[in-house]
Symmetry: D2
C-alpha cells in the first residue's frame, strides 16, 4: 500500500474513458475537487474483484454521502479483451447490482489500457484515494481490510473539512431479540 | 448507534473492575488521556461477541499502535453468572487468542454488573469510543461494520492530534501470483 | 427439490450442446451409463452460480473419482445473450478455475435455450442428478446444502454398485498445532 | 480420516458419561442398534468446535430424522478442566442453541477423560460414525467437509436399510425473485 502524506502533492493522471455506465454525464476528476474520490480499478472476470473489491466499493458508495465521497469504477481490462466488452460489462453491473458510475478504460496498442498504465497499477483490483484538494493519497493493489479503508477515508475527510462528514449508521443497528447472531440483549 | 459531537462533553463513568486479565497493572480511563480508547463489553458465552465483536476488537488492537488507540475488554456478565467465572474467562481468552487487557466487571445485587449499568448498555457486545480528551463519543450495541468503525476511529484520532496516526498496512499486501483470491496481477 | 424414487423411471432429455469447453470430445449422456452424473446448469453472470453453484460442482468434481461421478456444466443463457458468448465463457472458466466439461446450451427462437427448456428448469443454478441406469433422480433450482448433496450422491452410488465408491479425504486432514481454526490437539 | 469397511467389524468402546444434558434419559450405544450414530466429541472452549464441528453436528441433527441418524455430543475436556464444568457447559449449549443430547465424558486421573481415551481420539473436534449394526466405521479429528460427511452418512444408511432414509429438503428451497443470492429465475 502506498500511502502519501499531503506534502508530496502528487496529482493523479486524468482518467481516459471510452464510455461511462451508470451515469448520464462524463466524469472528470477536476470536477470533483472538494470531495474525496475512491477509484476502483477492476475487471469483470477477476474473481478477487467480484468477491471483495467491488462489494467493498459498493459498500463505501452506500455508506457515505456522495457529497463527501465519490466512488468511481474503472474497467481496466488487461487480459481476455474480447470476453469483457462493454456489452458484457453492462450485464455484469446489472446482475451484480453495482450502482456507482463505471468508466471503460481506453484501449491502447498494448494489453494494458491507458488509465491503468498512467497510474502504473500492478493489477486488479486496485484502489486509489484522492483527497479534497485533488491529490493522490493512496494506491493499493489487492485487498484492503474494511477497517483500514474506513480509517483512510475518514482521515482524508477530516482534512480541509467544509462540514462534518457523516457516516450512515443504518447497517449498524442490532436486532432486538435476546441472544442472536448480533449479540445478547439485556432482558 | 449513538454518535456524539465534541460539543456535548459527556464524561464516561469510571470502570468498576474486580480483576484484570492480560495485564499486570490496573487500568484507569483517566490515565489514558491523549489516546483514543475502545471499550468492548462482552460475555464469553455470547455468540455474537465470539463471532464478530471480539475478533473486531482484536483486529483494532493489532492494526493500530497502542499509543494511538487503546483497546480494553470488559467482561460484563448479566446472565449465567456461574458459567462465566474469571477462571473460565481466562481459559477463554487463551483459547481465542485475545491479547488486549480485559477487566471483569464488578458484580452487584442485580444481574447487571456495575460498569455495564453505569454506561446503561443494552446488551453484549457493546462498543464504546472515548476521545483523546476523555469524552464519550460513541456507544453502540450490536455489530458495527468495520468500514464504519475504521471511520470513527480515524475521526477521533484526527482531533487534537499530537502526531500523525499510522495505520498498519501489513495485512493489506496482495499475493503476487497471477489471478488468485486477492486479484489479478499484470503479467 | 424434486427427488425421484427408482420406480418412476424418468429418462432425462438428451443434451443439446452447440460447443463443448474443457474437453476434446463430445459428451452424450448415453455414454455415461454405469456412472452417476451431476449436471450443473448455470450462467456466467448469475451471482448465485458464481458464489455457490459452480464452486459446489467443482468441489464434487475434485472430491470424487470421475469413474464414480461425472460432473458436467451446461451454460444455459436465458438473459443478456450478447454478454455471455462462448468467448466470454471460455475466459470465465479459465479465471474461475472450473475444470469439468462445460457445454453451451443450444440457442432457440425463444430466450430459453434448448436443453434448459427440455428439462423445464426454473432458472440458474439448477442441479440435476442422473443415476447409474440413466434415470433422472433429482432436479433442483437454487442452493443445495453440501450435506444434502453428499447424501444424494452416495445414495445413488450405492445402487447397482459394481465396486465400492471412494470419497477422497484429502481435504479433511486437520493441521497438527495445538488449538487452531480446525480444533484442539491433545498435547 | 479413518474409514472402515464393514468387514473389519470394529466395535466402538462404550460411552463413559457422568451426566447427560439435553435429554431426560441415559443413552447407551447398544440401544441405538438399527440407526446410524454420529458422535461429536468437543470442548466448549475449542474455537474449531464452536465454528464448525458443533454447527455441522447440529445441522445433521436438524436435517435427518432421528429414526435414521442419532447425533450425540460428548464433552471431552482435556485442558482447562476448571473452566469447562457442567454448569458452564449447560449455559454454553443454551446460548449456542445446541439441541442434541450431550454427555459429559468421565474424568480420570489423567487429563484425558475416559471415553476420549478409549476411542484414542487425537483432539477436538472428533467425529465418529457408527453403523446400523453397531460397528465403528469412521473416526476423524478436525474438519470434515459437509459434502463428504453427507456422503458417509448416506453410505451407512443405505446398508441393511429397513426403510428408505429421507433427507429433509426444507433448507434447499430457492427464493423466487429474479436474480438474488440463490440464483436467477426465468421471468
Amino acid at each position: 500500500m502506498t500511502s502519501q502524506q499531503p506534502g508530496q502533492l502528487i496529482t493523479p493522471p486524468p482518467l481516459s474513458i471510452l464510455q461511462w455506465l451508470n451515469t448520464d454525464t462524463e466524469i472528470h476528476l477536476a470536477d470533483l475537487r472538494g470531495r474525496v474520490v475512491l477509484l476502483e480499478a477492476f475487471q469483470m472476470l477477476c474473481p478477487g474483484c467480484v468477491s471483495h473489491g467491488l462489494p467493498q466499493a459498493q459498500s463505501v458508495h452506500e455508506t457515505f454521502s456522495n457529497q463527501d465521497i465519490v466512488v468511481l469504477g474503472i474497467h481496466t481490462v488487461f487480459e481476455h479483451h474480447s470476453a469483457m466488452t462493454p456489452v458484457s460489462l453492462a450485464a455484469f453491473l446489472f446482475e451484480y447490482k453495482i450502482t456507482f458510475p463505471v468508466g471503460v478504460d481506453e484501449k491502447t496498442e498494448h494489453a494494458i489500457p491507458k488509465t491503468m498504465a498512467a497510474y502504473q497499477m500492478q493489477g486488479t483490483p486496485s484502489t486509489v484515494l484522492i483527497d479534497r484538494q485533488g491529490y493522490l493519497r493512496l494506491q493499493h493493489f489487492g485487498r484492503i481490510p474494511d477497517l483500514q479503508l474506513g480509517f483512510h477515508l475518514a482521515t482524508l475527510l477530516a482534512e480541509n473539512n467544509p462540514h462534518v462528514a457523516d457516516v450512515n449508521s443504518q447497517n449498524g443497528e442490532p436486532s432486538q431479540s435476546d441472544c442472536d447472531e448480533n449479540g445478547c440483549v439485556i432482558p
